[in-house]
């Protein structure tokens, strides 16, 4: 398969770009932030997004979706990266759908059509410590009657404050660090014993800390097999990582574009600053990094869609590379904008903040480089 978007993917991109660029430019995000909007995203836009088929992008056609794959998810995420539009696309349309596709027939029939309709929002609750370490999951999932009782706390639950359904990783057996013994649960955030605290993040996007205090869940709420959630979780996380990497490509591209424009308009010492060779070389280097990253991310998404055994390594590469490239892009962006880049009035700082969050989200560059080394046995 060529490492290019095909015709349909290009149309999808144009369509996403049209909507996101027109309706939700960075000023839309700024407005939500300044208003300290309680939801953190526009429900109206999400409705339109759903009508356009984006909420159900990955939902199988049998359940009312488009049945598309990781590449298409990446296409949309990249456009989101350009304007930082807050939306439940990642949490619900990517992570939620990817998880629920592994559910029982009943679970799929229950949830997937509602997601495609834009009527149901989900959130994936994995992280517990300061860093993304899914195997370190410690949340207790003790058998209790016919079901389980959950105890523990989750952090960095993206869109956790608006979710209608939580997908929660618990430990039903084994010890933190072990792969066996993980189970995924579908949990109603209104269930007794759950408390959700929205966390105000540096990027003004949405996340929550959620504590579970003797939360009872039935056996029906298990997603996949008990104790065997590790593989399912990997597959869900990997598509999420690819999607976040795609967002970082869009973000890097946007920052870079704005920076190159600034180089062509800002004068210092009687010259356009883009005439200074030191900046030219740094810009050319950054350009190359972004193009290299773009290829790595597309490749990883294609391999996921192919079900290739090399997909996990490719995702580790993509997420690691996208993280370092986005970090470089925003650092160069702020520095080359000089003092103006430091002001809240300029948008460039938003990208720096979002890039930092995207780094941590689903594992930072260090985590994924380490994963690559493990996969290659060294």
């Amino acid at each position: 398969m060529p490492l290019l978007l095909n015709e349909e993917q290009t149309m999808l991109r144009d369509s996403a770009r049209g909507f996101i660029g027109d309706k939700a430019p960075v000023s839309h995000f700024r407005q939500l932030r300044d208003a300290k909007d309680a939801t953190g995203f526009s429900r109206d836009y999400w409705r339109t997004f759903s009508e356009m088929g984006f909420a159900g992008l990955l939902v199988p056609e049998a359940f009312g979706g488009s049945g598309l794959g990781a590449v298409e998810a990446g296409v949309v995420m990249e456009e989101i990266g350009h304007t930082l539009m807050p939306s439940p696309f990642l949490s619900t349309a990517v992570l939620g759908v990817s998880a629920l596709k592994h559910g029982s027939d009943a679970q799929k029939a229950d949830y997937l059509p509602k997601i495609a309709d834009g009527a149901l929002l989900t959130a994936l609750a994995i992280d517990e410590g300061a860093k993304h370490r899914p195997l370190q999951t410690a949340m207790k999932a003790a058998r209790s009657g016919n079901g389980f009782k959950l105890n523990g706390a989750k952090a960095f639950v993206v869109d956790g404050h608006t979710a209608d359904l939580l997908i929660v990783a618990g430990r039903s057996a084994g010890a933190p660090g072990e792969r066996d013994g993980l189970t995924l649960f579908l949990v109603d955030p209104k269930a007794k014993g759950i408390s959700v605290e929205r966390t105000a993040m540096v990027d003004s996007h949405n996340a929550a800390r959620i504590t579970f205090d003797d939360v009872e869940v039935t056996a029906d709420s298990v997603l996949g097999d008990v104790d065997q959630g590790g593989a399912l979780l990997d597959s869900v996380l990997n598509i999420g990582r690819g999607a976040v990497a795609a967002e970082m490509v869009g973000l890097s591209d946007e920052v870079f574009g704005r920076t190159v424009s600034y180089l062509k308009e800002r004068k210092q010492f009687g010259k356009l600053i883009g005439e200074f060779q030191a900046l030219q070389h740094r810009a050319a280097h950054l350009y190359t990094e972004i193009e290299v990253t773009r290829a790595a991310v597309l490749k990883a998404l294609q391999l996921i869609d192919d079900g290739a055994p090399t997909a996990p390594a490719a995702i580790a590469v993509a997420k690691a590379k996208a993280g370092t490239t986005a970090t470089l892009a925003v650092q160069e962006g702020v520095q080359m904008h000089g003092g103006m880049g430091m002001t809240d009035q300029f948008d460039i700082g938003f990208f720096m903040k979002r890039a930092r969050v995207c780094q941590e989200l689903l594992g930072d560059s260090n985590y994924h480089a380490d994963q690559l080394a493990r996969l290659k046995n060294y």
Partner: protein
């Protein structure tokens, strides 16, 4: 050639200094209130002086007044201007003894750190008599009017104009990045007194009262949140010509002299080597493996590499001071240090963010001290811009130290 006997003449000198040290130690012990022996943890802990100065606590007032009375708000200034009259070695000893008990600075001000040295070098007797004692006594708080929206790195292209009107100038224009302009009593400011020649000529360095008619300020919000920076506007502000510091149209000399002080100050901004090692801060949030190593091998490596660089920079800073004392310092070396120190400080805060992980992403909660870590991180991004960008610093090194053509 080897085996030359070590020189002995230092010895007598040392005993004088030893005595100064023990006296100083005793005085500090007796006079520095216990509350003033803790690291500053908020802006409130800094006493800035000025017409509207407020003490945040009684010990702060006591400590300031005792130090002021000894001339030790500006220990190295001449006594006639309210200073302590100490020489270089004595000043160093005072700093060391203060550091030893973690004594806070009694007074922080741009008058001391920036304007003072320029006044001492370029001021007329009248100007020195007028301004220095008030700075030493914390009576007047100063701000600096250098940058303009279209004169950032290219500072000399500034446009704020001072038009001659009899014995006065009428000043009109806009400054940006004026720290604490909204709290300052006076400003030292670069203005264009002659627009006909080259851009570096025709600039004058002038002092005036911020309550003058036509001065207004507006705080700037940064990506890290609230900031001390302001936009400052001058609309036909009348200033006597006698307020020019140095020669009219030669203000660039004064500015350059002062910038070197500023750069040296900024290059010292990182928390080099002080406090808890970065790796242990990371262990606090990420944990350690069975061998006690940070449980993130990649990050551990980055931290170790950083700490090598940071420790080396601390040595270079120490050496820079020693070179200066020995009269061997290259005047442009502060630019190299400013570049290196600020880039390192940015790296430090990238590492702190990575070490904090998810917890370091919170922006407003009490748990996160209102996002102290991410705000500090974002704030450091300005380090390599303010006081001369890294690019300008490298250009200065290339030109003035390496003598590269066309630099």
């Amino acid at each position: 050639m080897l085996g030359i006997p070590r020189t002995k003449r230092m010895e007598t000198l040392m005993s004088d200094l030893d005595q100064f040290r023990s006296e100083t130690r005793a005085w500090l012990e007796a006079n520095c209130p216990p509350e003033m022996r803790k690291p500053m943890s908020s802006d409130e802990d800094t006493f800035w002086g000025g017409r509207n100065a407020k003490y945040s606590s009684e010990p702060q007032r006591l400590w300031f007044e005792r130090m002021r009375d000894k001339g030790w708000t500006v220990p190295h200034w001449p006594k006639e201007y309210g200073g302590g009259g100490l020489d270089g070695e004595q000043t160093k000893i005072l700093r060391q003894e203060m550091a030893a008990i973690s004594a806070r600075l009694p007074l922080v001000s741009f008058g001391i750190s920036m304007l003072g040295p320029a006044l001492l070098k370029y001021g007329t007797d009248a100007q020195k008599q007028e301004h220095l004692p008030k700075i030493a006594a914390g009576l007047i708080r100063w701000c600096q009017g250098y940058s303009e929206p279209n004169a950032g790195s290219d500072l000399a292209s500034l446009q704020t104009r001072a038009e001659s009107d009899g014995d006065d100038y009428l000043i009109t224009g806009q400054k940006i990045w004026t720290s604490y302009a909204n709290y300052a009593d006076w400003i030292f400011c670069l203005v264009r007194t002659d627009a006909s020649g080259k851009k570096h000529d025709g600039i004058s360095f002038i002092l005036f009262d911020m309550t003058s008619k036509g001065v207004s300020t507006k705080p700037i919000l940064l990506i890290s949140g609230k900031s001390p920076f302001c936009e400052t506007f001058f609309d036909n502000v009348r200033v006597p010509k006698s307020h020019v510091l140095g020669t009219v149209n030669r203000g660039w000399d004064v500015a350059k002299y002062l910038l070197q002080h500023e750069r040296a100050m900024i290059s010292g901004m990182g928390e080099r080597g002080a406090g808890r090692p970065l790796g242990q801060i990371a262990v606090d949030s990420i944990g350690a493996d069975a061998q006690g190593r940070l449980d993130d091998a990649m990050l551990r490596g980055q931290i170790a590499s950083f700490e090598v660089d940071e420790a080396a920079l601390a040595c270079a800073a120490e050496r820079a001071v020693d070179l200066a004392k020995a009269g061997q310092a290259h005047p442009a070396f502060s630019s190299a240090m400013k570049y290196y120190g600020t880039e390192l400080n940015k790296r430090r805060h990238e590492i702190l963010m990575s070490s904090g992980g998810i917890d370091a992403l919170e922006w407003e909660s009490q748990r996160s001290h209102e996002g102290a870590r991410p705000r500090a991180w974002l704030r450091t991004k300005a380090n390599s811009i303010e006081g001369g960008t890294s690019e300008v610093m490298l250009g200065i090194v290339a030109k003035r130290i390496l003598d590269l053509p066309g630099a």
